[in-house]
């Protein structure tokens, strides 16, 4: 987007890949970039977890397409997936929008030849460090903080709203326990025809761990 004059061919020291894979040519291009890159990082929730475009998988393919186009004959889209479904990824720069801290951490680590130190705990930790009153416990708000990877400095709870998990799931998140808690609170946490916890997992299609360099 930011440059004209043709696509550089590489080799690349570091590649930052954003976006969800929804076309087969994107997967091919991704593999080519991987081959030419020393380091490849996934940046942003789409590349890491499928993000918002992956919500399409919560409906049957044809149904979701028909709501948008009358003529689907020229519209092609494969099942959305994160980029590590296709290539090896050297690290995840989380967030939607991606966080500055993790981006700097990834790049400075490459420059200085060390392992990047990505945050591997939940938003709750950041929230407690800030001294916030817990919205989930004290106000019965459907906060996704307990299962969401840290990095935003508990932005939403600090603004009096429940976390909706734009940073994506943290490693070993116990989504099931949180879902049960939501369920006990009642219907306000329930979507239509959907798993209780999936309603707030906007950015987390799958639960997965993260790998580092």
């Amino acid at each position: 987007m930011v440059t004209s004059g043709g696509t550089p061919e590489g080799p690349f020291d570091v590649s930052l890949i954003e976006g969800t894979v929804t076309k087969s040519w994107q997967a091919d291009e991704l593999k080519r970039i991987r081959e030419k890159s020393t380091y490849l990082f996934a940046i942003g929730s789409c590349a890491i977890n499928g993000g918002i475009p992956a919500l399409k998988s919560t409906h049957p393919e044809l149904e979701v397409g028909k709501k948008v186009y009358q003529d689907l004959s020229t519209i092609h889209s494969i099942r959305p997936s994160s980029i590590d479904a296709y290539v090896h990824v050297d690290g995840f720069i989380r967030g939607c929008p991606p966080g500055e801290r993790d981006l700097c951490e990834a790049l400075t680590s490459v420059l200085s030849g060390k392992q990047p130190d990505f945050l591997e705990y939940s938003v709750c930790i950041e929230c407690k460090l800030k001294g916030n009153i817990c919205l989930l416990v004290a106000h019965n708000m459907p906060c996704m903080g307990p299962v969401t990877n840290a990095g935003c400095e508990a932005l939403c709870p600090s603004h009096n709203r429940a976390c909706y998990s734009c940073w994506g799931p943290m490693r070993q998140a116990n989504a099931f326990a949180l879902a049960k808690k939501f369920e006990a609170y009642g219907d306000i946490f329930r979507g239509h025809n959907q798993e209780v916890y999936s309603i707030r997992f906007c950015h987390c299609r799958v639960q997965k761990g993260s790998r580092v360099l």
Binding site: S4, G5, P53, K67, N160
Partner: protein, 342 residues
């Protein structure tokens, strides 16, 4: 002669364009937006009302505020909720800060390199260092405005259906007012810089469309007007416009029924409601000799620079009017329908 550009660089989104020219006459032109479809309209069905603004924000990383505000207003309309006057003012502040930020990116990062035949922003160093520094100064302040009320500049979190979940302390608002004051000269300088560019000479008298709600330079809400006399409410959109699918592109094409394409954006707005601009913007436009109507589409860049002056001054003024009350968000869910335009 056939010209085919497979990847239009330095635009937001992914597109290609094909021209077919015979003896100097354009025979065929195809704009193909090949950006993969994401099906937002499809997967939004059956979701909770309060998830919609956060989901649609992700349509675009440059203009999330517009998408969120549209969703919020439509849902409030459907739920029969009237937002507090303060929320309306703050939404305007949010919208203005984002429009200025988007215009800045477009002018300095996407358009400017073209006028100097450079490939990208990095190529602009060192010759354009003062300009890039000016861009950074302004962008930083307008992003801070969005973040002050939205929690963060991109995909704000505190702007929700019903109002705002939290408000900043007074002293931070005073500080940002001071900073907006400080970039007013940079805004005027931006306009002078853009007015010095060599624009191709072209007259294209299409139909200009914008929203309008005098005496304000409408933002977020208003009638749909055009210079050919269209004046309809926002819920009557489909009485005049229609969206067509085209086989060679993933994006739909909107036309005025029985007529043809039309133009929206900064130039359209100026052509339709120049008189309602902030005095600072009118003065600055006069200084560079800009007059409406202006039918050169390349002058959209000029119009954006004028709107930058307008946006900063208007934002600064609106902030004087904000009375900070404890936010109350009393939404009662009911069945309903709401159509709005941004």
């Amino acid at each position: 002669m056939k010209i085919s550009i497979d990847y239009i660089a330095r635009v937001e989104g992914e597109g290609a364009i094909k021209f077919d020219i015979e003896d100097g006459v354009l025979k065929d032109l195809k704009l193909n937006i090949w950006e993969p479809p994401r099906f937002f309209e499809g997967f939004l069905c059956n979701r909770r009302y309060d998830e919609v603004p956060d989901i649609v924000a992700r349509i675009c990383g440059i203009c999330p505020v517009s998408h969120m505000t549209t969703a919020i207003r439509a849902l409030e309309k459907a739920l029969g909720f009237t937002p507090a006057p303060d929320s309306i003012t703050l939404r305007k502040v949010m919208a203005l800060s984002q429009i200025v930020s988007s215009h800045l990116v477009h002018l300095y990062m996407l358009a400017l390199p073209d006028y100097y035949r450079l490939y990208s922003i990095p190529d602009m160093f060192p010759r354009f260092e003062p300009e890039i520094r000016r861009l950074n100064r302004m962008k930083k302040v307008v992003n801070e405005v969005t973040a002050l009320f939205g929690g963060r500049a991109l995909h704000p979190v505190s702007m929700v259906v019903g109002g705002f979940t939290s408000l900043p302390p007074r002293d931070k608002i005073e500080k940002i007012k001071y900073e907006l004051e400080n970039i007013k000269d940079d805004a005027k300088e931006t306009l002078r810089m853009v007015s010095d560019l060599l624009f191709p000479d072209l007259t294209h008298n299409t139909e200009y469309v914008a929203i309008s709600s005098p005496p304000h330079y409408a933002i977020n809400e208003g009638f749909i007007i055009s210079q050919n006399g269209v004046k309809i409410g926002e819920d009557e959109y489909y009485s005049i416009f229609k969206e067509d699918e085209v086989s060679y592109s993933n994006a739909k094409r909107t036309v005025i029924k029985g007529k043809d394409s039309f133009m929206v954006g900064a130039l359209a707005r100026l052509n339709l409601k120049f008189d309602l601009l902030h005095e600072d913007a009118k003065e600055a436009a006069e200084e560079i000799g800009f007059k409406v109507p202006d039918y050169n589409p390349f002058h959209n860049n000029l119009a954006q620079a004028i709107e930058i002056v307008h946006g900063i001054s208007e934002c600064r003024e609106l902030l004087d009017k904000v009375i900070l009350r404890k936010p109350e968000i009393g939404i009662k869910v009911r069945e309903g329908e709401g159509r709005v335009l941004q």
